[in-house]
């Protein structure tokens, strides 16, 4: 047993860190350090830089252009990218669609979609959740009826992240409503978002951002060649996708960046007439977050290492522990950042700033994204299976109660 990173792993981390430092556009980095989310062009630009380097397909097999990294290297790469902070790879393309096509796709589908997904020439989104099918995904009702060499799709998806940016959508649809079990009769379909009958309506989140959407399908004709895997066997494709390696599930890099940021800003604001950073109670709160971050870091290494040892076959139920603790830390660290900002974190400055470019700064630039980050991260314990669902998983898979 040896918990240190091996020298070659440290060297790898330094290589990644250096590459990101030297190649990440400075504008993107500076805005993200202030907590702004990257724009669509920034995300595309950065993924293309990584793809040119051969790293965008970090988790794909070598024969499909992957770099052939170990699980630990993959983890290091993701964490370094997050804590830079740099835009994340578009997970719909890289960790979802890619592995699914490699496992289930036809040669034609692979040839047609994989390189464009890697280079973000196509922006993909995920059409899974429906208004009546959240945690209970198998109750989905969007229907796809075979009509010659097409499927005709009708129904509605919800919580569709970045659908308004997307060129394509991979969807779960019901192809056999008469199937005896709800999980049967579902198919996995690739839908061109420019097809007539596809309508995207924005959902504005409580942080004021437009990230989520509703997607309506009305008599949308999808060529039958866009079916992935067998008809009515889409549930196993979806299970493969959802059960896939969850290396980055804790998103520890984001929390680490938040802890760093809370200390930086605490040097600039005061408490009792002294810099807040000197306040003992504040320092104890930071120390507590650092305890959580360190525990998560070790836990993550353990899970990744076990995944590697199992030959990448067995999804570890302890990844539910990572999800729970990871999201708690995301929420607690973003909360502390906001508390440091205090009243200055409360205004919605954006419109005003845009209208007043020649005025002196209306607010400290560190304050603008504190509350949005905190608000947005309330969703962390909801998406990808709520933390309550994660406890049910632990209960079934580990505790056997």
């Amino acid at each position: 047993m040896d918990l240190q990173l091996a020298p070659e792993e440290v060297a790898f981390r330094d290589e990644v860190r250096t590459f990101i430092r030297d190649n990440l556009p400075p504008n993107t980095r500076d805005r993200m350090r202030l907590g702004y989310k990257p724009s669509k062009p920034e995300i595309i630009a950065w993924q293309r830089i990584l793809n040119a380097k051969g790293w965008a397909t970090f988790n794909w097999p070598r024969e499909y252009g992957g770099p052939g990294w170990s699980a630990i290297q993959r983890m290091i790469f993701l964490e370094e990218n997050l804590s830079a902070p740099a835009p994340e790879l578009l997970s719909f393309n890289i960790t979802m669609l890619g592995p699914v096509l490699i496992q289930f796709g036809t040669e034609e589908q692979k040839r047609r979609f994989l390189p464009r997904a890697a280079n973000l020439d196509d922006w993909w989104c995920q059409g899974f959740s429906e208004p009546g099918a959240g945690s209970d995904l198998a109750s989905l009702r969007t229907a796809a009826k075979r009509d010659g060499d097409h499927y005709v799709v009708n129904g509605q998806k919800i919580w569709t992240s970045t659908a308004h940016h997307a060129d394509w959508c991979f969807c779960l649809v019901r192809t056999n409503p008469q199937a005896p079990k709800r999980q049967e009769g579902i198919s996995f379909l690739l839908i061109d978002m420019k097809t007539p009958g596809v309508e995207v309506r924005p959902i504005i989140s409580i942080d004021g951002s437009h990230h989520l959407n509703e997607v309506f399908f009305t008599d949308v004709r999808v060529p039958a060649e866009n079916l992935v895997g067998e008809e009515n066997k889409g549930w196993s494709v979806a299970k493969y996708l959802l059960g896939n390696e969850r290396t980055g599930i804790a998103r520890l890099g984001i929390s680490k960046a938040a802890i760093r940021r809370t200390k930086e800003v605490a040097r600039e604001v005061r408490m009792n007439g002294r810099p807040l950073i000197e306040d003992k109670a504040f320092r104890i709160r930071v120390a507590q977050l650092e305890v959580e971050a360190k525990a998560l870091e070790i836990m993550q290494l353990r899970v990744v290492s076990a995944f590697e040892k199992s030959g990448g076959k067995k999804p570890d139920p302890l990844s539910s522990v990572l999800k729970i603790k990871g999201t708690e830390l995301l929420q607690n660290s973003s909360e502390l950042v906001m508390d440091v900002g205090g009243p200055q974190a409360m205004p919605v400055w954006q419109q005003e700033l845009a209208a007043l470019t020649n005025e002196p700064a209306l607010a400290p630039d560190w304050a603008a994204q504190m509350a949005p980050a905190y608000l947005m991260l309330r969703a962390a314990s909801i998406y990808g299976g709520t933390n309550e669902i994660q406890k049910n998983i632990l209960n079934k898979a580990v505790l056997e109660l």
Partner: protein, 377 residues
Amino acid sequence: MDFDLTEDQRLLTESVVRLLGDTYSFEQRKQMLSLPNGYSERLWRQYAELGLLGLPFAEDFGGFGGGPVDVMLLMQAFGRHLVLEPYLATVVLSGTALRLAGSDAQQAEIIPAIVSGKTTLAFAHYERQARYDMTDVLTAAKHQDDWLLDGAKSVVLHGDTADQLLVSARTSGERDDPQGLSLFMVDASSPGITRHGYALRDGSRAAEISFSSVHLPTEALLGEQDNALPVIERVVQAGIAATAAEVVGGMETLQAMTLDYLRTRQQFGRPIGENQALQHRAAEMLVNLEQGRSMAMLATMMLGEPDPAERARNISLAKVGVGQAGRFVSQNAIQLHGGIGMTDEYAAGHFFRRIMVFEHLFGDIAYHLDKLADDID
């Protein structure tokens, strides 16, 4: 000791509940948000007609002669609907300063205008660099023939539309000096004042206000020169009690929405509220709500406590208690709602954000725990 409402309080509460029930649905409120002032002037007039704007003022000045409990009941009702009008800024904060520090002449001039709904006020005390420190005032007023005011105030609640500003300024002493602060009543349209209005995260309005060689007449001074801190402290305490009551109202609505959602939302073929883990979370929310309610009551009652140390201490206890309860209830309300709770279209997130904003006014949990810690004997 008596937790029952008086007949007057019962009538007041009923009329407010009726008014807000008719006028303050979530959809109606959304429209008010886009009004020029960020609130409804029509409703402001209705508050005046109902006597709400005169609630805490003496009958001599046209007020209703009510006490802290009356204001608490009103703010709690406001909190249930996320009311946008500048009641906190005008009646609670500025009103407290006027009642405590205003001369009879000053009160006779301005209070009737408040009561009738003609004039709104904002309390411009905190500055950008001060965070929660009450004595970190860099805005300065110099007395020559008249007063000359220079400086800037930050996150002034409803400062964008207020007719009059109550501005704290240093008239002597250094930064952080508890002595040397004075309060001034300033016409918001005076030359040299620049205001940038904006929305806070909960949709309510505030402003950055700067003062550049603003001339004030001698009689603009409100209360004692160089000794405004005790008044400012009581204004802040009144603000804590009032926002605590609003948070309680907000928690009540969130709790009701959450229970409703748990009863109706189906997953795996049954209401999610049948999950015992969620039932227990809802029970913990109730525990927190009742804890917060108790602490809001404490803050209200302590506004009348004559001993300043005892008053400050209990109000800090209350701010911490309400803050922690509000955090727990609002965070779990979103969690139990799942995705829908994260959307701007749904009311829960708006309550969440108001509770978040109030937590960061007048000192947050850490600030008041710090005060309490200092106070341990």
